[in-house]
Subunit: 330 residues, 4 copies
């Protein structure tokens, strides 16, 4: 059994705790959170020890790996200390909101043998992964266009927005990673944004709707459509268009029931409302990947560099938004 | 141009008149109906002559073909006289409600060179025809099961029911023909019926819901599901299940629009409400087939024997319904 | 924790073992099977004790409940002994192939306080359950027609067929239960069968394809379409047709990926191949139901009487098949 | 009957000739084309007179309306002369490739009472029109995002490309009009293009793939995805995303047949290959609209100003493509 410690007992921490508990070759030793009221019950649920003491966790030699699911500002510090303590790390995205801090983090760990994975869970979604695998296998010929639709059900509360880093670094970052998953490196970014949903988002200096167009090193174009609010649930779709065919990922339904009546036909249930339901299998597969990597001594993917690259795309999108110009990347 | 006369200016007569007018190689010479108020406007609309005089129509040498769309009791007489007058005939189903009358009609025309087609329009529906062609071409291997769903939007009025011949001869007769289209001859019939919809149907001695199971000479099983009322429109579907695959015909939609909202997703518009909308292309193709057959001197299909066979299946279904036994056919 | 013992370490036993292990309030104490080579590894996998000794299992007071997943001929004996030993029972279908043995089993347990559930897992499938709940809530008005399509991917081997009890008692029994789930009691059965797939099935005196028509006590008609072989996987569908609408359960797909190319469009992956994949959530929910029933002291459903009733329908279908007549049930 | 003259006997001219012939209140008097080998057969097919003499056509007082389906460079001259001759005009898009010529055309006709419609046929597609009507009726709340996918099956030949005006003025112009149909005026354009398909397109100085992002005066964002080649046929889709729901227009299929087999399930036929099949109902409805407008003395829509506006968007897209900057419109 591979023992994990979890940093952060919030919503995403609970997802990871459940995944660890359900994995046949892993168990949860610690839940570490400054808020005892959060750490306690979660630890108890899975037979772990609750603590607010990071050092105690990292000093426990029985702990092989940590999951960092705490608030974004704490990621760099916890990631660095965990690597220095010899732990394997699965760190939630983003590594940080500030590229300079990400780079200084890297400077501290790059010469140490480490296992660091960044939690871009969507790469492990069975539907998206199947499309990526088939594109990689050449089923569509050359990939020419990638269309990513990504809309959240509800905008975050005002209190969250301030520290979120803005739409591109908070929400689109998943889509930037998905674009990179298909296109490899991105060489051009063009972003358009709008405020259409809620005044408090504009008041916070952020946008709530966006279209981002990317050009991959291989020439393919990708586009990302974002909205902070979607009346029909969590809208998560992809189309990969190639020379000889297209593969699409439709939204997923909790059942296959359809209704037919006088007003409408073939009507399905609402989509999964948010990531906890939609991406449960992806979170499980992500955890399984890091566990298998640790067991086999291989590097998990996506890694630190992928986390940095997605953040760099978010920064480029912000620059394009500000200047109205296409931004070219190194 | 091939000149047609039309017997019957009712709902189905209007369908045929429009098809004739729209065909590039046909025109409509006469509309013959005892009700002048029906014949007149229809004739005027397409530049034809209205009349109640059958003899005048059949004496017109410019008329090559007739369409019989009048009430069922008139079919045999009009068909016989038209054949004797040397006209090609497209006769609406059923030829008659009484198998003995059908046979005596046949006795009168069988030794005359004739062109008689029976109006089982669904054989010409592009979707059903595509499945039939692919089954015939062996795409599914041996055909094993055929599932026909056929539900009308609304039951006919009480006044119509009395002369309808009952569900099997009035409505299911189309499905019996469709079963024969796929299976060839049918050797066994088993029918179950129920009264679930409206008391006046039961009062008329008829059923409103049915399941009929057929066995084809080649061994395949077919089943027909009927209802006289369907809340979501005209329900017309087929599944052909074979050794190596299945082909299905879904209901058809007027547009490809889908709606997504908080209550439901992927919701389509109601289906076509009835046969005039659903089978417009089938009626057009049916007419084109009889015209082409006349032009080429070939026999149109389905012919008189097909009209008789479907009626014989309806009678067998009624017998099975009455006795609770499987009925074996010659 | 509620401790289970499992009788039978075969395919279905493994499903139940996994469900028990995954349930937060259950664990597996024993795996009991005369074949040590099967019991041993399965027990080891879940930290249970392997044995061939039924008495030892039933004597263990720590065991609250048993799952009977052994071969059909052993069910009645194990069920009776387990009830006499005071254990709650989840027994796989069928209780037995012989209605008389089922009744004598009942005679032995009926006066003892017992908790017996029969494993008609499909009642717990989220899709079917959602339709049943909505039908029960009146969303469709009166239920008029129920269409069940149930086809297995591959026929069982000849060796299995001999002891299977025939198509209706082995395979259709699930569909009979599903019909009862929607219709309540069934008053009429009409069955048609055919041999279309494999000679060895006919040689064994069994059919491989069937259509069964049922009439419910409330007047609704149900039809069941069966085949022992389906080229596109496990075909498990339901349509509930009522006065004001229809609800359908389509087959389920492992991903939402669709392919579009020059030869075809909107093409999905193959369906789940068999019950282990298709009904995993149903098996989990079924176990949860029996556990909750035990905890709350309520009667689980479907119970012994449901197991008997489905078998009685299978017998009636066999009689209809033999006589070509509709069979009326008490 | 309203008599039409047709300029241009090529592919699109044939579409219009057929629509005129099929319309119950219109007929075709002239087919005018410098190539007698094209004009002659088309005129003969519909009982019209073939000519190369524009003046003769415009001098015919029996002609009420003209359809301009000739090559783009002739549009302005024919449109101007037709208006001066008092004819109503349905002019194919684009009015011209040069905005200055369009404006000088307008200067010549603006003070004359005229009826001019521009052939943006897609506004009359029943599916797109239904979505537009429902959006206008407020079914989605405020419209926030419009996603237009528009891919042709095959790139045009090199010979055509030279005079096409480039992707944006030749192909995307339809999508610009569709964006205006939903958004009203457009205030910002941002374009990205690529050469991914065929060298001869790049050699001609044109792109073959593009993404264009637009901002409407009301704040909504629209995006257009274009490709000159699509392996699965003519890809024509729209999604209108609003505050309370989404409406989508899927591609359309010639039949509702689906195939299920060991390799794939739910597989549909290829889409319509190109605009003649896909948009037949739209061309018919477009013609009906101009006829009804003439009969009622109302202004048809889209009109001259719409033709100009779509061209102005194409020019803005070209400027954005060249500069890498967002282009703001008046």
């Amino acid at each position: 059994m591979l023992r994990f410690a979890l940093f952060g007992a919030g919503r995403i921490g609970q997802v990871h705790a459940a995944s660890i508990a359900a994995h046949p070759r892993a168990d949860l030793g610690w839940v570490c959170d400054p808020f005892a009221a959060a750490a306690g019950p979660l630890a108890e649920k899975y037979g772990a020890t609750a603590t607010a003491d990071v050092d105690a966790v990292l000093a426990d030699e029985a702990v092989t790996a940590v999951v960092i699911g705490s608030s974004t500002p704490t990621h760099v510090d916890l990631l660095t200390r965990s690597v220095l303590a010899g732990k394997a790390v699965l760190c939630e995205k983003p590594i940080d909101l500030d590229l300079a801090r990400v780079d200084s983090c890297w400077a501290q760990i790059k010469d140490i043998e480490h296992t660091v994975m960044v939690g871009f869970n969507r790469r492990f979604d069975p539907t998206f992964k199947d499309i990526r695998d088939r594109v990689s296998a050449g089923e569509l010929g050359r990939l020419e266009q990638l269309v990513i639709t990504s809309r959240d059900p509800e905008p975050p509360p005002a209190a969250y927005l301030g520290g979120s880093g803005g739409l591109f670094r908070d929400m689109t970052i998943h889509d930037f990673d998905m674009a990179r998953f298909f296109l490899g490196e991105v060489v051009e970014v063009q972003a358009t944004g709008a405020n259409l949903i809620a005044d408090y988002i504009a008041d916070a200096g952020d946008i709530d709707s966006a279209v981002v167009v990317l050009r991959g090193a291989g020439g393919a174009l990708a586009q990302i459509t974002n909205s902070r609010r979607c009346s029909f649930g969590y809208d998560q779709r992809i189309e990969a268009f190639g020379a000889t065919g297209m593969l699409s990922a439709a939204n997923q339904l909790p059942t296959s029931v359809r209704y037919y009546g006088a007003e409408r036909t073939e009507s399905a249930a609402p989509y999964f409302n948010f990531f906890l339901e939609r991406y449960t299998p992806a979170y499980r597969a992500e955890l399984d990947h890091v566990i298998t990597s640790i067991e086999q001594g291989s590097k998990p993917s996506p890694g630190f560099a992928d986390g940095r690259a997605a953040l760099a795309l978010a920064d480029a999108a912000n620059e394009s938004l500000r200047t109205g110009r296409t931004v070219t990347l190194g």
